[in-house]
């Protein structure tokens, strides 16, 4: 491993942002926070994009690794220990300076800090904690912080971090335990799921705690007591945390730690928890992947699951070869995100979209059209009567347009031109709806006929996604054709 000494901050930034760029998530959404009154920054629940890089992705956070040194040797990772790349490590102060000065100039919404594993998981997690505590306590930073939870790090450290960050994520890395064994022999499924569960419980307990706080005199007193400890907190945590944190069997140590933690902010990981997995490095089917994602949403209360189309950066012979140098087709990633949105916002279940017999998404049709064509018996639906959830199942109608329809039809009945103006994509929807009992054109409710019509609409789209030209970033603003505006 080449460890470079005496790098300038710019050289470090170049190495450590380059090493972080494959991480999928850069969202800053999920929490509304006002300025804390003495420092800089707040947060908007909708999230804000501050730029778009040449690959078309949103830049919202300063996305960097703390270090790209790593004791692990995961096959897919550019920073694996067997690679001959230049290694660099930030100091906590350097990360704080970059974050504060970038934020001040409105380049970023906050910090996304991840890291290679330096010496041990505990050591790494401790450095990450130190950095975010410094940022909050010394620099009074009130913007968004997304921190990686390091698998294998001690519970106390993960817990401490949760009180200083808005979002935490632990990477699932690969969809199955088997894939993980093959490609990341130093990581185990158990080590990944343990902190994930812990963060979930932290969020849950915090919610209960806050509810009690509203009603109980005792709890308020305890809080006041904690407030008195506030000044001591930074000192305790920053100066002594090394000894304190490594000595987790010490009961007083634990209590102090928890006290320090609880005062960090009112809420534990308020923007929730996310994860990401690499798609196409191992042989899992789409069905397998969406089932895993569904389980993560249901059992771990995740806010988001990110899918990262695999790029064989190490040209490793044991991984899928990509002679064109372009990575797993983006269309596959795109389909998974579409399915993900259907599960989170449209009330679909994984097994409605795919099955053991039909394990992969249709290349030609998006998952919702594909589902609708297989369920023609449920269509057409009447725009002026169907309930919200029924409308959501119609191809060409999204969350926003369904909401608009339900509200607008209280005043008068709606016709095709009306719903077109409300953002319904009629070229998709027309096969599945009636307005006042009438379909837009005479349509046979026939699978092949409708498939033909829809595939025509989709073909151009898919070609462009395949050729990296114009896939749209998915968003709740699903109505590109609505009115004069372009987002």
């Amino acid at each position: 491993m080449i460890i470079q000494e005496n790098l300038t901050i710019q050289q470090k930034l170049e190495i450590l942002s380059d090493a972080a760029k494959y991480d999928a998530a850069c969202t800053s959404s999920g929490v509304d926070k006002k300025n804390n009154g003495k420092g800089m920054g707040n947060a908007k629940a909708c999230g804000i994009c501050h730029s778009f890089s040449a690959d078309g992705r949103c830049i919202s956070l300063l996305k960097i690794l703390f270090t790209n040194e790593c004791i692990y040797d995961c096959r897919y990772c550019i920073n694996r220990s067997s690679n001959d790349v230049v290694r660099a490590t930030f100091t906590p102060e350097e990360v704080c300076t970059l974050t504060m000065e970038f934020y001040r100039r409105n380049y970023i919404e906050g910090l996304f800090l991840s890291s290679g594993i330096i010496r041990s998981p505990d050591n790494t997690m401790r450095l990450l904690c130190e950095t975010v505590i410094l940022l909050r306590e010394k620099y009074h930073f009130g913007g968004y912080i997304h921190l990686k939870g390091i698998p294998g790090a001690s519970q106390d450290l993960i817990n401490l971090a949760g009180w200083y960050t808005d979002r935490m994520s632990v990477n699932l890395e690969l969809p199955t335990a088997d894939g993980l064994r093959q490609l990341a022999p130093h990581k185990s499924r158990k080590n990944i799921l343990t902190p994930m569960r812990q963060i979930q419980n932290g969020i849950k307990n915090n919610r209960n705690y806050l509810e009690i706080e509203d009603n109980s005199e005792d709890i308020r007193e305890i809080n006041a007591g904690m407030g008195a400890l506030k000044d001591r907190r930074a000192e305790i945590v920053l100066k002594e945390h090394g000894g304190l944190l490594s000595n987790t069997d010490d009961v007083t140590g634990r209590q102090l730690l928890q006290t320090a933690g609880v005062r960090g902010q009112q809420k534990f990981v308020p923007a929730g928890q996310s994860t990401q997995m690499i798609i196409g490095a191992t042989k899992e089917s789409d069905y397998h992947i969406v089932t895993v994602a569904e389980a993560l949403y249901n059992k771990f209360d995740l806010k988001r699951v990110f899918y990262s189309a695999f790029i064989n950066v190490n040209h490793d012979n044991n991984l899928p070869q990509q002679p064109d140098g372009k990575g797993v087709p983006l269309l596959r990633e795109h389909r998974l995100y579409q399915a993900d949105w259907l599960m989170r916002f449209y009330g679909f279940k994984a097994e409605e979209l795919l099955s053991e017999d039909k394990p992969n998404f249709n290349v030609l049709l998006d998952p919702k059209c594909d589902w609708a064509i297989r369920h023609l018996e449920q269509f057409p639906v009447e725009i002026n009567r169907a309930d919200y959830y029924t409308l959501l199942r119609v191809p060409g109608i999204g969350v926003n347009s369904a909401r608009r329809i339900v509200k607008a039809r209280r005043a008068s009945s709606l016709d095709f031109p009306d719903i077109k103006k409300m953002g319904v994509v009629l070229k998709r929807a027309l096969y599945f709806i009636t307005c006042n009992g009438r379909m837009m054109y005479r349509t046979r409710m026939d699978e092949d006929y409708i498939t033909n019509g829809l595939v025509g609409v989709e073909r151009l789209n898919n070609f462009e996604i395949e050729h990296h030209q114009s896939y749209r970033q998915l968003s709740l603003f699903d109505d590109v054709n609505f009115g004069q505006t372009a987002q």
Binding site: I9, Q10, L13, E14, S17, D18, A20, K21, Y22, K34, N35, G37, K38, G39, M40, G41, N42, K44, C46, I48, C49, H50, S51, F52, S53, A54, D55, G56, R57, C58, I59, L62, K63, E101, F102, R104, R105, N106, Y107, I311, G325, K326, R404, K407, A408, R410, A411, S412, L414, K421, M422, H468, Q469, S470, Y471, R472, Q473, G483, Q484, T485
Partner: protein
């Protein structure tokens, strides 16, 4: 004056100006009045024109009664719409309010109605543009420590940006100038930003040189901006869609 003629009230292009004119038109009777922002164009032969002087007290009363009698949401909508650059915006808002005071809070949902949809779309366009600028504004630090920024928006987003940065950069001295309108938000540490008309780019430039550290951080950002892109996934069209060229005029790294 012929009794079939309409009276068009001309007003200043500000939220207060439009609200004042709407109030005056209402007094004259909604049947034969119209409201228009004064821009020296599109005069009609069959109308009498009257200028209305902006009166903030009247504007405040309009705002209050819209909030109370229709809804907060409706007020937010007409406020944003009044910041739009669309000709005819004042008349759209006037017609929206005529229907709104009859229909009540549900009016904002009746998008099948053209008068409602026009206001809704203007409001949304303004909101989205201001949201883009919340991300795309770039502050540069002067030697005095003041943070300066220039923007060239279509809509008059300065009031919305001022509100956003009042909270976010509360402990900083900063200034945002709309170079299309010579309209600026000027914020003093710990206070609310003042909105000032007639501020030119020359005036902004004469405020002083960039600080030493400024160049260093611009170059660090430039480095980050270019490194974070995955070259295997280059996608100019997606980038253009999300960050159209018109926003990039004052974004240095993004212009390289």
């Amino acid at each position: 004056m012929n009794s079939t003629d309409t009276i068009t009230l001309l007003c200043e292009d500000t939220v207060d100006g439009i609200f004042t004119a709407i109030y005056k038109a209402w007094e004259l009777g909604t049947g034969h009045t119209a409201v228009q922002v004064e821009d020296g164009t599109s005069m009609s032969l069959f109308s009498t024109y009257r200028k209305v002087d902006t009166d903030s007290d009247i504007a405040f009363r309009v705002a209050r009664s819209v909030s109370r009698k229709i809804s907060e949401e409706a007020y937010g909508m007409i406020y944003n719409a009044a910041l739009s650059d669309r000709p005819g915006k004042a008349q759209y808002i006037y017609k929206f309010l005529q229907k709104g005071f009859k229909a009540g809070s549900d009016i904002v949902n009746y998008l099948q109605d053209d008068d409602v949809r026009n206001v809704y779309e203007m409001s949304r366009f303004v909101w989205r543009e201001s949201h883009k600028y919340m991300g795309f504004v770039r502050f540069e630090e002067l030697e005095s420590g003041i943070l300066c920024s220039r923007i060239n928006p279509r809509s008059n987003v300065i009031p919305l940006l001022a509100e956003h940065f009042n909270d976010r950069l509360n402990q900083e001295n900063w200034m945002i100038l709309d170079t299309n309108r010579d309209f600026a938000a000027v914020h003093k540490k710990g206070e609310e930003a003042l909105l000032i008309k007639g501020v030119t780019e020359e005036q902004l430039s004469s405020m002083g040189k960039l600080s030493e550290r400024e160049k260093e951080f611009q170059s660090l950002w430039d480095c980050f901006y270019h490194t974070i892109a995955i070259s295997e996934r280059k996608n100019d069209r997606q980038q253009m869609l999300m960050m159209p060229k018109r926003y990039r005029k004052y974004m240095k790294a993004e212009n390289n």
